[in-house]
Symmetry: C2
Subunit: 149 residues, 2 copies
DNA sequence: AATGAAATATACTCCCT
DNA sequence: AGGGAGTATATTTCATT
């Protein structure tokens, strides 16, 4: 499925604010609201739009720290980890990557003792390296048509 | 600001789907829609809710690869990098972290030549290490009340 | 802080082009 | 693929408790 100018205009707005109304988007790009709704529906069905998420502050929900943890899995322990990681509520994002480490994850934690606990849960799977997040410089930047320039 | 049971119930639903209507949330948790709207407004004002984002497929928007790149900045080059990184459209997320590397970023790229180009842009700022993302095991997991258990 | 009601706005469905 | 009309639903505002 191709993404034309109008669909990019829609995607730009929905990435900014997922609660943008179809009517408002339509007004801005010169389309009726059913037309916007139909385009959005098609982009959802095509998998271009994957979902609508609310970002919440980890800090204001009682979590003092965010960390990036890499894992270099022991022989035969990668698969069990991949099964288990979905159950770890601390993990916001987890990627399988190339390189010396197999896994990189973003975790949100109550405090340092919670970090300690969490690292302990990982030791049966592999060697870990922990990096505490000091600040977030860029957060969830939108993908735009000209990203690839 | 405290987050009571009802607010957690709202946050859970909005994290699942940012386009959930207040009326529907209200029906599920036993509140009128103005009550839900008011609670959401307060959580926005308090900074608990930071925004509503649409997730789009980088693959289906013409980007073949995602990578995690770490940067170990040269002396005096961290600050210039922090200014500049916001302009790099390739960067979705960028964190300042503790440890041997100062910076970790998630980047979305057209193809390998685009990766090469991008790494070239970074060489004046520091040493980089690149990890190609093979798959995403956990994506944007919701923060829930019991994450911290 | 929540409700119910009224006014406004939006979304959805259907038909037409 | 989009417009327009009609209906249903949602949001917003406000008075009340």
């Amino acid at each position: 499925m191709q993404i034309d100018e109008l669909n990019w205009a829609i995607l730009t707005r929905l990435q900014q604010n997922a609660r943008y109304s179809f009517a408002e988007i339509g007004r801005e790009i010169g389309l009726s609201s059913p037309a916007v709704a139909e385009r959005v529906k098609k982009m959802e069905d095509a998998g271009i739009i994957k979902g609508y998420k609310t970002q919440i502050s980890y800090h204001k929900t009682g979590h003092q720290l965010k960390a990036i943890i890499t894992l270099r899995a022991f022989m035969g322990r990668l698969k069990p980890f991949l099964e288990k990681v979905k159950e770890f509520k601390e993990v916001s994002n987890c990627y399988r990557i190339t390189g010396n480490e197999n896994i990189i994850m973003e975790v949100v934690l109550r405090d340092q003792s919670h970090l300690e606990e969490f690292i302990d849960k990982l030791i049966t799977y592999g060697e870990t390296k922990t990096h505490i997040v000091l600040s977030q410089v860029v957060e969830f930047a939108a993908i735009d048509k000209n990203r690839a320039k």
